[in-house]
Symmetry: C2
Subunit: 197 residues, 2 copies
């Protein structure tokens, strides 16, 4: 039963008005970058008062983290393709799509989170815990189908797929494409999960 | 013959005085973070004039990138342990050590590089090209020893080891340790490089 709950896309914790403010924040971040983002501009873009924004998110860091998490929530997919390879490819492609569209936001979040332990805590509980549960559920499905052994899962490296793709999107030395995801899944993740034990 | 040249640790491109300024920059970055770094403080710490610093590095971004690259150069190891596993562990541990001591610098470099195409170009030629050659040489040694097949190397993912460890160091949701490196090498990198082709 908890299983069904896990698999449902989480409902938004925000009102439609708040969601509009977060969408405006994401849009401005991607257009102008973090330094030039102002609460004034967010309020103006979403036709709200500055007080409305500040009441909900007292600092720029909190606003940006909330916008990032809400953006991720909207694209969170429970892959459920029926195979481990299919699930990993779909997860990887969703991360790729999000990371390439929102690289400026991801960079901003990393900087803010590194400065502020309270934001780090919020990121952990509002974001990372859920991501970890999603990836673990994909791997558990593969165990249940007999595709891999439970002992082949390295919990320490649960964020290898999103972590490397995020790294590639924020250090843009060469294009990050669907081909990258496919090579990562076929040449690295599947061989690791199906290695002789 | 080029092989021997490849394996020699590159000489520093800086004079001893310049190297002192870069060391002072790294130290201040790690103590106070990027926002609070000033050229004044770098000059004062290294007992130099501001003009001396600005003459060599006209912007804070250039100064920080140079300090980062010089710090990396000093810890660059050519592992040469005689086995692929040994080489990967040693490389991973050197990256781990550097990334955990200089996480604030790495974050600063990522932000600056993302804003400035000229810095991105400098990072590519002064840093990434050399790193790629080092990792390729470790893998080529393993091919020469018959440990792996050349076709098992995924060039697209040459930076998987440093990239994931850097990601972990800048998104500090849990400790990054030698155990992380060992699990990464044994459960992921070696199975990928020795997978059936």
């Amino acid at each position: 039963m908890t299983r069904i709950a896990d698999r449902t896309t989480e409902p938004s914790p925000w009102s439609p008005r708040e969601a509009e403010l977060l969408a405006a924040t994401l849009q401005l971040l991607q257009q102008h970058g973090y330094e030039r983002l102002t609460v004034d501009a967010v309020a103006a873009t979403a036709k709200a008062s500055k007080a409305t924004v500040y009441r909900r998110w007292p600092s720029k860091g909190e606003l940006v983290l909330a916008a990032f998490i809400e953006g991720c929530r909207q694209v969170a997919v429970v892959p459920d393709t029926g195979t481990l390879r299919g699930d990993l490819l779909r997860l990887g492609e969703a991360i790729l799509d999000h990371a390439t569209r929102h690289s400026a936001t991801i960079r901003a979040v990393m900087v803010e989170v590194s400065r502020d332990p309270a934001l780090r805590e919020a990121m952990q509980h509002q974001f990372l815990d859920g991501r970890k549960a999603l990836i673990e559920s994909v791997l558990q499905d593969a165990v249940d189908r007999g595709e891999i052994q439970a002992a082949a899962i390295s919990e320490e490296l649960w964020d290898l797929l999103p972590g490397y793709l995020m790294f590639r999107s924020i250090v843009p030395s060469r294009p990050l494409t669907q081909k990258t995801v496919q090579i990562f899944v076929d040449n690295v993740l599947i061989p690791s999960l199906t290695r002789p034990l």
